[in-house]
Symmetry: C2
Subunit: 146 residues, 2 copies
């Protein structure tokens, strides 16, 4: 199931909304469609620009918040602290439920990739520090940039 068509993506999005008991509305479908179109994470300003007049800015805030709460999207802060969103992995065709994964930020094109296949290494902390989760962001140049 590579490169699903718009119709296929919409079907998947509708299922996703149903599964989380959210109503199927135009703003939500547009947001999901936009985000799932790209391989890399999508920043909120980017979404605003793409969606333009079709989705109100306030609605976008609210849609992104519900999606994050429900675990449909996860938020990544880019190097400037800008909120950037990517689909959670349960949405992936492979159904890998690996919420923790390494992010890769390309300093050339600013894209953020979720590297689901990269192993998260063990971090050894000082005595008394108990780790619940580890966020790793590798910065460099991606495979599309020279």
């Amino acid at each position: 199931m590579q490169n699903p068509t718009l119709k296929e993506r919409n079907k998947i999005s509708e299922d996703l909304l149903k599964r989380h008991k959210l109503k199927i509305t135009s703003p939500r479908l547009r947001v999901l469609s936009t985000i799932s179109e790209k391989e890399t994470a999508t920043s909120q300003p980017e979404l605003e620009k793409i969606l333009g007049d079709t989705v109100d800015r306030v609605t976008l805030y609210r849609v992104l918040n519900v999606f994050e709460e429900k675990g449909i999207l996860h938020k990544i802060l880019d190097l400037n602290g800008t909120a950037t969103y990517a689909l959670c992995s349960e949405y992936c065709p492979e159904h890998i439920h690996q919420e923790e994964h390494v992010h890769f930020t390309c300093s050339s094109c600013n894209s953020i990739y979720c590297l689901n296949d990269v192993q998260i290494p063990e971090i050894v902390t000082p005595l008394g520090f108990k780790i619940q989760s580890v966020a790793i962001n590798a910065v460099g140049t991606c495979n599309k940039c020279p």
Copy 2:
């Protein structure tokens, strides 16, 4: 040189400013003093609250920016994307010039620690992804929280 007194901290701060060819001013000393008092990183809102009327909010923005540019402070974004600042390691008594280090965020007290002694593991990225730096933030409970 543990727990330096206020006077000692001010001396260190003045040297630090001189070394970076910055004028020694009251706002700059206050900011450095406040940040160096704590073991953990200090958020900008926290600084605003502590400095109160003694330093203008706009001045604080500018002071933090120069300090970051000059490599006196480094900025860490906390889990909410709030800018949080810690002294760069050259400032440490040991003179370890290790700019990359693991951060630890306590989800209980929200403190951010710079773990200079924790080894940064190797991250193996997919073909074509070239890593320049790796940011690691471990989230959990610190040694002061239950």
